[in-house]
Each structure stands twice: as C-alpha cells, then as structure tokens.
C-alpha cells in the first residue's frame, strides 16, 4: 500500500496546522463547547442548547457592560484622534527635535499594559500619588475609588496618555509622506493654514486615519488590563467593561456556560466590526495614490 505519496506536503503544512489549532481553533472550540452545555463539576456535562446565549442576551448586566464599552470607545476616539492629529501637525519636520519627539512619543507604547495600570493607580491616588494629591490640593473632591465620574475620568485620561502616541506616530508618518511641492503650491496660491490642513493634509491622511480609528476602536473595545488594575471594575460596577465582566463571571463566579456564551458574542462583535472596517478601508477608491 502506497500511503506516503504526499508525505512531503504534509510535512510543510503540519506546523501551520498545529500552530493554528493550538492558538485558535482548540481554545475557541473549547469555549463553544462550554457555551452549549451545563456542568456541575466532576466532568459531567448536560446539553443546554442556546439557553446560555438567551440568558446573556436577556440580562441587563450584559447590555450595561456593552454600553460602557461603546461609551468608552466613543470618548477615547473623540479625544485621541483629534489630539493625535494636532500633536502630529505640530511635531518638528527636521532637525534634532525629530528623534527626540519620536522617542518621547513611543515611550508610553513601550510600557506593558498592567504596568500602565499600576502607574496610574499610584499616580492618581490622593494620599501618595502626585496627580491625585495635586488635584485634591487644587480643591477638587477627587477619588477614583469612590466617585463614578472620577473613575471614568482617570481611566480615560490613562488611555489617552497610553495610546494617543499611536495616533500621533501614524499621522506623523502620513504627514511626512506628503511631497513638499504640495505645501509650495498652496503657498503660491496664498492658501491659509486652515485650507492647507483641510484640503491637503486631511485628505492625504485619510487612509492613515482609517487605520488609526480601527486600531484604537478595537483596542479600546477590548480594554481589560488597565481598568482592572486601577479600579477593578468599580466603584460598584461603573467601570465594569465586557472583558472585566467576563472574567468576573468565569473566574469569580465560575459560571462557565454564560461566560462562554458571552465570550462568543463578544468575539462575534469584534469580528463583525473588524470586517466592516476592513471592507471600508480596502475598498478600491481614488484616494489610493
């Protein structure tokens, strides 16, 4: 029996199959497995069908977390994109200032996420943190562990500090790729600073901004580490985002079924949004050049 005629092909494909299986397919199928069954431990499973999905989709808790996620992403995008553009526009184009600015901008991006959380948790504390004590000293009643608005303010501020740099770097790269002749032509036309931005820089940044929005939306929508470290989802549950809620449910309450169902819904939403963005950004349009 000649069963080894395509051995060589398998040899090349196998590593990829194994990698994908262990990194994506097996974990995902495990979650799918949990989401349609019920277990009381002892490795005994009972078929539950779509019960968990219905339960999750019908619960206020899920929709509240979802609303928080969307609100957070909206705020973060509304601040980071314009701020990133403004900073990129004002960065030096040549000279010693360029590497200095680039390194300064990259620093927040290089810090591990849980360290960012820890930094801000300490930084914003009113007793030992610089930021917290200065705000208190200025006469504000600030306490991110007690007040909803303060907690949100802290988390948004942290995210802006952490991720605006990414937008800045993307925009800066986009701006640097605009040929000098465009600015000259605008100057000869007598165009104002605003016209240069509106009619040259912004259209030329179009593509870069689409990527920046996609990246920032995805990241902010999946936020977990930083608010978990800073507020732990509190006070109460006002900063409990989907991911935090998920971990509470799965690890804290050990409700594996609903948690799995929620993971899958969460995953599908992210997938859907990515797909929409991908379709929009890869659409053949005339601004390609």
């Amino acid at each position: 029996m000649d069963k080894t005629w395509n051995n060589k092909a398998w040899f090349f494909v196998l590593p990829v199959l194994l990698l994908v299986a262990f990194s994506a397919v097996i974990p995902l199928m495990t979650v799918v497995n949990y989401s349609v069954q019920d277990t009381f431990g002892n490795n005994e499973f009972f078929w539950a069908g779509t019960e968990w999905f219905q339960q999750v989709l019908a619960s206020d808790r899920f929709w509240e977390s979802m609303a928080r996620n969307l609100l957070f992403s909206a705020i973060v995008l509304a601040i980071e994109i314009p701020l990133g553009i403004v900073i990129a526009l004002n960065m030096p184009k040549r000279g010693i200032g360029v590497p200095v600015c680039l390194v300064l901008m990259s620093l927040p991006l290089l810090i591990p996420w849980n360290v960012v959380g820890t930094i801000w948790q300490l930084f914003a504390r009113t007793d030992v943190g610089l930021f917290g004590s200065v705000v208190t000293w200025l006469g504000f009643d600030y306490n991110y562990g007690r007040d909803t608005l303060d907690a949100w303010f802290t988390i948004v501020l942290m995210d802006v500090w952490h991720w605006t740099s990414l937008v800045v770097l993307l925009c800066y790269a986009g701006l640097m790729s605009i040929p000098d002749a465009y600015y000259q032509a605008a100057k000869i036309d007598g165009a104002s600073r605003w016209s240069v931005f509106r009619f040259i820089q912004l259209p030329k940044l179009n593509r870069v901004l689409q990527i920046a929005i996609l990246l920032r939306f995805m990241d902010s929508f999946m936020i977990y580490t930083e608010p978990f470290v800073v507020t732990g989802g509190g006070p109460g549950s006002v900063t409990t985002f989907l991911s935090i809620d998920l971990v509470k449910m799965a690890v804290g309450q050990f409700d594996l079924g609903p948690a799995s169902a929620m993971s899958i819904i969460y995953f599908l939403i992210v997938l859907l949004v990515s797909w929409v963005f991908y379709t929009v950004t890869t659409q053949p349009d005339e601004d390609r050049a």
């Binding site: 002749a181 465009y182 007598g190 040259i200 259209p203 601004d287």
Partner: protein, 360 residues
C-alpha cells in the same frame, strides 16, 4: 520684466546658486537647461519668492521685490509631480486660486470653463484629480496656473513624468497657451531636445551658475564655453585635447587639423576641440572634410537614427547618423567632419571664437 542681480543662495555650507544675473522680458519664453542638481529648481524658488537670496536682489519692472513673500507676487508654478488638491473636483481645483483672490462667482465660472476648454478638461470637471490619468492631472495643474493670470509662470520639468505622446502634445500647446497672457514664462528641463523644441531663450545652468544665456538656437550653435556646449549636447559632446603649433592643432601623431585663418592670431598652446555628435560623418566623400580613423565600440539603433560609439586616441566619441548603420565592434571606420563645425575652446574652457563675447 524680471531681473536677477548677482543673486546667490547658500543653505548651510552648500551653495545652491552662485552669482546669477539674468533679465527676463515680459511675454518671453525662457528655458532653464541643465542636469539634475544644476540649480534650476533653486533658481525658480528664488524667482517665485519662495526663498530669499543670500546675496543680490530681485527686481520686477524695476521695483525691488527681494524680500516680498510669494503670496504677494502673483506667481504660478507647476511641478514635475502632479500637484492638485486631492479632495476637490477638477472644477474646484482650477477655481482655487481665484477663490483665494475673492473673485466673483460669474467670473470664476467663466475663467474655469475657458481654461478647461483649452486644456480639454471639460468632460472631467466633476471628477477628482486622482481618478484622472497623469496627463489630465497635469493639465488640471496647468489650468490652475493659467486662470491665475500670473505675471510669472514657472514650470519645473512639468512634462518629465508624462509619457512620450502626451509630452509632445503638451509641449506644443504650452507656449501658445501662455504666450497670449503676456506673462514671463520660465521652463526648467534637463533635456536639450526640449529646449530646442520650445525655442525662445535658454539659460544653460551648471553647478548653480548660468553658463550662457541667449536665444536658444544661438546658444546651441555658438556655445561660449565648454560647459554650455556639453550641457546642450545630447548625445554627449565629443571632445579632444589638442596642442596648437603654428598653423596646426595636433593630437599626438594621430590627428592634425589646420587652424582656420580667422584664428591664426591664437598663441600656441593647449586647446580643446569639440564636435556635436551629428557633425561627424561616417565614411566621408570628398576632400572638403577632415578625415580620421576610429575603432567602433558599440552601435545603438533607434529606428531612424544610429548612435555609433567609437574610440579615437584616448577619447570616446559618439556619432549620430541618420538611418540604420551597423558595424561590428572593433571594426575601424573612417570619419570626417567639416572644419566649420569645429568648436574650439581655450585651456580655460572659453570658446576662442567668442573671446569678445563675455559669458553671462
């Protein structure tokens, strides 16, 4: 009238423009001819007012405008890259300089439509530039320069990025279109051919200096120095170093050329003789021509013309011959030239016939 008086421009330690004096008349077409980095763009930036010269002054109609910024000078410029506002329609692109000036709607509409008509852009007025072909994009940029009614129109290698056909077409149209405006028209190019086709005046540029300025055909026929002759030759100028003794120019024992009577007064010494590639004739007939033998290196055939690369003495020459001529490498062929076509330069690089005419 635009006048540059002893203009220089340095950036840091590098000198981009050195002591340029140039007078351009209103309604004239002026070609800046020179290789890449000769300073053509730098000079245009100075003319436009985008840069301020390090030394010297710039005058428009006798008035000193040296420090006046570009916005207040009424200048139009078109670049090698096709520069248009990417998000605006062709119509809005052409209208943009008029909108900045605050011209009324009806006038804008009339001017834009007229320019579009001339540039054959009428069917594309509602499209955005990037959805057009390169030629149409550049036409849009040209139309924008046109409606502005600028007194100085600077074209910086505007056809370099276009394909051959479009180039010929636009090159023919451009001078006509701008001629009626009475503007000073400056056109930078690296190609001697283009300068000859455009006509007008040519300023030959080399390393930030003007090697020669005058009527294009005059500059081509009577270069005042070796630099000008070299820049204006395509394929490259054929040169040979010779020594004058009595009534002969000689290169070793290989070539002896009688010194023309008009140059009999020249002192003995080292000279450079030069011939344009088309002034060398292969296998000459008749005794009127000076003959020499050269070894063929390689032959390039373009279809209607042949470029024959040969080695003569220690020099490498190119012959531009009409028709298809094929020679084997290493073959020795007889060449001839008319003494009247011989360009003779002194050791300092100045043409000896033009000793009296001073290089600009």
């Amino acid at each position: 009238m635009l006048e540059l008086r002893n203009v220089s421009k340095s950036v840091g330690v590098s000198r981009h423009i050195t002591d340029v004096s140039l007078t351009l008349e209103s309604g004239s077409l002026n070609v800046l001819l020179g290789p890449t980095l000769a300073g053509k763009t730098s000079l245009m930036r100075l003319m436009a007012g985008l840069d301020v010269p390090t030394a010297g002054t710039i005058h428009v109609d006798g008035q000193d405008v040296t420090g006046v910024p570009v916005q207040r000078r009424n200048v139009a410029m078109v670049y090698q890259q096709f520069i248009n506002y990417p998000s605006l329609t062709v119509y809005e692109n052409i209208a943009s300089p008029l909108r900045v000036k605050g011209v009324d709607r009806a006038t804008i509409d009339r001017d834009v439509k007229r320019a579009a008509e001339l540039m054959r852009l009428t069917p594309y007025l509602d499209r955005t530039p990037l959805s057009l072909s390169g030629g149409q994009q550049q036409r849009t940029a040209l139309a924008r320069a046109m409606v502005k009614q600028a007194r100085l129109v600077l074209l910086d290698e505007p056809l370099a990025n276009l394909d051959y056909k479009l180039r010929e077409e636009l090159r023919e149209e451009l001078p006509k279109i701008f001629a009626e405006t009475g503007a000073i028209f400056v056109y930078a190019t690296t190609e001697p051919q283009e300068a000859l086709l455009l006509g007008g005046n040519t300023a030959v540029m080399h390393e930030g200096r003007i090697a020669q300025f005058g009527r294009t055909i005059e500059v081509f026929r009577h270069p005042v120095n070796l630099t000008s002759a070299r820049t204006f030759a395509d394929p490259p100028l054929n040169t040979l170093s010779v020594h004058k003794t009595g009534d002969l120019f000689a290169h070793g024992g290989l070539l002896s050329v009688p010194v023309p009577d008009t140059l009999a007064h020249l002192p003995d010494g080292a000279y450079t003789i030069a011939l344009q590639p088309h002034h060398l004739v292969v296998e000459p007939e008749g005794a009127a021509l000076v003959a020499l033998d050269a070894r063929v290196d390689v032959t390039e055939i373009t279809g209607s013309e042949s470029f024959i690369h040969v080695a003569f003495a220690d020099a490498r020459w190119v012959i531009l011959a009409a028709g298809v001529l094929e020679y084997d490498p290493e073959q020795v062929i007889r060449l001839g030239f008319d003494l009247r076509n011989l360009l003779i330069f002194g050791a300092d690089g100045h043409a000896v016939e033009h000793r009296t005419a001073k290089a600009a």
